[in-house]
């Protein structure tokens, strides 16, 4: 599970994240939406421990990401929108390396990766250098490697960039299955259709704070608009935009 407790992040005068609090229980598929520069990536960076919050805390499975980072990271996986891969390695070498970083025995790496490799159709690329592979294939490798150690919390930023419809479906299916098995998914995207289709709850961030959180029905009532998520999104972000600016703080 994920707990964000009064998270604040300031970049100089600018308040990028302004007092975000939320609890996402185990097994929930949570989607974060928001306009550009709303604070989504900054929130993810604090959740994954890449940056320190100015105040507040982020917890993963009850472990404070700042106080016990190693334990928190053992239970978590993070796939950014443009993941880093070692270009001269082959996909299999990279997947095995990631498994070993998570202290997985070889036999376990082998058995778990077989399923992922088959589902992501990576078989034909296993022995080719990563440097020659397309963005979509690299994305599939990164997701496979991240899922290998069966994390309790899975954080992913724009997962569908570069993926063809077939593999986008595979990613959705796997994440749904894992969420059903108890993995918490924290997904940031601009594609409203993914949130609409996959999420148990959706959080709409605007100007560093949640403009709305809840199921699609709850968002409809919060925004006062009917129908598609797009209407709720536009309504909630427009409302916030009209309010007087909270940031910057002196």
């Amino acid at each position: 599970m994920i707990e964000l407790i009064h998270l604040v992040k300031k970049f100089g005068d600018l308040v990028a994240v302004n007092d975000i609090s939320i609890e996402i229980p185990a097994g929930e598929f949570f989607c974060v939406l928001g306009p550009n520069a709303a604070g989504k990536t900054t929130t993810i960076k604090m959740l994954t421990g890449l940056i320190k919050p100015t105040s507040g805390a982020a917890k993963v499975c009850g472990i404070d990401v700042q106080k016990d980072p190693l334990e928190a990271r053992k239970r978590m996986a993070y796939v950014p929108d443009f993941p880093f891969l070692y270009d001269k390695l082959t996909p299999w070498e990279f997947i095995r390396f990631t498994g070993q970083l998570f202290q997985m025995p070889d036999a376990e790496i082998r058995s778990r990766s077989e399923e992922l490799i088959a589902r992501f159709h990576l078989d034909e690329y296993l022995r080719k250098p990563i440097e020659g592979l397309s963005h979509g294939t690299r994305q599939r490798i990164a997701i496979s490697a991240a899922l290998l150690h069966r994390p309790d919390v899975f954080v992913i930023d724009e997962p569908m960039v570069g993926l063809d419809p077939q593999h986008a479906r595979v990613v959705k299916d796997i994440l749904r299955e894992r969420a059903d098995e108890g993995m918490t998914v924290f997904l940031s995207t601009h594609q409203l259709s993914i949130a609409e289709e996959m999420a148990n709850r959706i959080g709409i961030i605007n100007r560093g704070a949640f403009a709305g959180v809840g199921t699609l029905d709850e968002l409809r009532s919060q925004s006062g608009s009917d129908g598609k998520l797009e209407n709720c999104f536009l309504s909630l972000t427009a409302e916030a935009a009209e309010e007087p600016e909270t940031a910057p703080i002196a």
Partner: protein
């Protein structure tokens, strides 16, 4: 633990990172087989050539200095101490820059920070990587120097083994200090202000060195004793290399004493260095990990340092509220009304990119700044020189130095220009401007900008050497031709061997085209300077009749024209057929 357990044991993160890194390095090495044989040959030839040439240079230099009556030994030793002191400063600077980039601007660091690897382990890994990356060039530089020194002093075989040990221990110190400074700089400065501060610091150091090392005019009345006086002053001025707390002093003392057979003293200096390396290495390995995370978080979380000042805040706010007026570059280029507007737009874009890339103008400033300081100091040299032979020789050497500086910059910055359009190539490629005019515009912009600096430096060189006006015109003309040729070579080869996959200019330059550009530029400069010097009559005993320079000049102009025209023609032909 039985054998099965040992086989199944999971390696530590450090061992895993080391293994992956070695595997990557091995694959890169293996990739040489698939790259052009000509490129491999050129690189290998260049490396061997460098080692042999620098060895010969050091060896002959040491022989020359060693023959100085009475002071040969002292001067040789001082030279060694000075070299290591300068190399230590360079190594420290190199470690600082590479360490900063490696720790805070590296995608692997970001990846590892979200993996279950401790901050200390990530820091240790980056520390070792920085040490290797920053030190290999140092090792490449000192190997021929130490070999030449050993041979010159008839050193026994164990001297060479000992120096390997001394140098291995020595390189840990600048890495530790560099990493410490890099982490603290990241904590307190953003990238932009760091770059500006570094360039500012380098300029201050340069200016201080120029003032400190300024030659003094020797009075006529002490001419009899002026050599001894000069030597005395030289030794006093360079005494800083013997400062006992300088790590380079321990290294140099270890080398010198081992060579003299004072094993105990050499071992003492080795142990001094070892103790400092262990102390700072231990501190770094055990304590800087947490600080590294702090610094990473700060570096990723901060608005620009300049943004905290009121003036910058007001400027940013003005920029948000007012339409862009076009800026200085655009206003300046608007005067060139005869140029088509699309060409002007491209020029403005290239000028802005150059100005906003601190690396580009920083390195340009450093290279030509150093040359400028040196040329300015020539006035003292020429005041004391009565023999025109040396004056002329120096003027030709200045031509070579100025062109070599230019070649470094054209290869480093002009060559990758076309490739750097990279994924953006469709913008200018699809524009009515046409790709060929883009190349021509890049050529003219680079050549004319470089010309301002090269003509200025050559004119200054002639002025400092008190050369007559006709020689100033001659050198200005020659350096202009060389500027156009070197720029044409870089632009043409850049278009002929484009690499649209890379965003990193140094990787683009390290390909076949970049290496070819560097080698051809170097060969062309050596050829030009030697040809022109051979054509000049100043070094001959008697002046030849007629115009002896004409055939040499003709040869120089023909080669220059060919090296300008051919790559540009081939590059433009290639660009026309490039599929965007």
């Amino acid at each position: 633990m039985d054998r099965t357990d040992a086989r199944n044991a999971i390696p530590s993160p450090m061992a895993l990172l080391l293994r992956v890194s070695l595997l990557q390095a091995w694959r890169k090495l293996g990739a040489i087989r698939s790259q052009s044989r000509l490129l491999s040959f050129v690189i290998f030839g260049f490396m061997v050539g460098y080692v042999v040439l620098s060895f010969l240079l050091f060896y002959n230099g040491l022989q020359f200095v060693g023959r100085f009556p009475g002071l040969g030994e002292v001067l040789t030793e001082r030279l060694l101490f000075l070299m290591f002191a300068c190399l230590f400063v360079m190594l420290l600077f190199s470690n600082l820059v590479i360490g900063y980039t490696n720790l805070f601007r590296n995608r692997e660091s970001t990846f590892l920070l979200t993996s279950p690897v401790s901050f200390q382990t990530i820091y240790r890994w980056k520390f070792m990587e920085t040490c290797a990356l920053a030190s290999w060039a140092f090792l490449f530089l000192v190997a021929p120097l130490l070999a030449a020194y050993g041979l010159h002093q008839h050193a026994p075989w164990h001297f060479y083994v000992m120096t390997v040990g001394l140098v291995s221990v020595f390189i840990i110190l600048p890495t530790s200090l560099g990493a410490f400074f890099a982490i603290n700089l990241a904590r307190f400065m953003d990238r932009r202000s760091f770059q500006v501060a570094m360039i500012g610091l380098a300029l201050v150091v340069l200016a201080a060195a120029a003032i400190y090392m300024k030659p003094e005019i020797v009075q006529e009345d002490i001419e009899d004793t002026r050599v001894l006086g000069l030597m005395d002053r030289l030794l006093v001025r360079t005494r800083f290399a013997h400062y006992p707390l300088l790590p380079s002093f321990w290294l140099s003392s270890g080398v010198v004493h081992w060579l003299e057979g004072a094993v105990a003293t050499a071992t003492f200096f080795f142990l001094v260095m070892l103790s400092y390396s262990l102390f700072f290495g231990f501190l770094s390995f055990t304590s800087l990990g947490a600080m590294f995370y702090e610094a990473t978080s700060v570096a990723r979380s901060r608005g620009g340092v300049f943004g905290q000042w009121e003036w910058f805040k007001r400027r940013d706010s003005r920029r948000r509220s007012l339409p862009d007026s076009g800026g200085v570059a655009e206003s300046f280029l608007n005067w060139l009304f005869w140029l088509p507007s699309d060409v002007r737009a491209l020029l403005v874009k290239d000028i802005r990119v150059f100005w906003r890339d601190t690396t580009q103008w920083g390195q340009t400033l450093m290279l030509f700044g150093l040359l400028g300081v040196y040329i300015l100091n020539l006035r003292h040299f020429s005041n004391q020189m009565v023999n025109p032979f040396w004056i002329h020789l120096v003027s030709y050497l200045n031509l070579g130095a100025c062109s070599l500086n230019l070649a470094t910059l054209t290869t480093r910055f002009v060559y990758p220009q076309f490739s750097l359009e990279g994924k953006r190539i469709w913008i200018i490629g699809m524009a009515p401007l046409g790709i060929v005019r883009v190349i021509r515009t890049k050529f003219w912009l680079a050549a004319l900008s470089a010309l301002v600096v090269t003509i200025g430096l050559m004119a200054l060189s002639c002025r400092m050497l008190n050369l007559p006006a006709d020689r100033t015109v001659f050198f200005s003309g020659v350096v202009s031709v060389m500027t156009f040729t070197l720029t044409g070579l870089a632009v043409g080869l850049g278009a002929l061997y484009p690499n649209f996959k890379e965003d990193n200019p140094s990787r683009i330059v390290s390909g076949f085209g970049g290496t070819l550009c560097l080698v051809l530029s170097f060969v062309y400069i050596v050829f030009s300077v030697v040809t022109l010097a051979l054509g000049a009559a100043w070094w001959k005993a008697q002046e030849a009749s007629g115009n002896p320079e004409a055939p040499y000049m003709l040869l120089f102009l023909s080669v220059s024209a060919a090296l300008l025209w051919l790559p540009m023609k081939l590059g433009m032909a290639k660009a026309r057929s490039t599929e965007l």
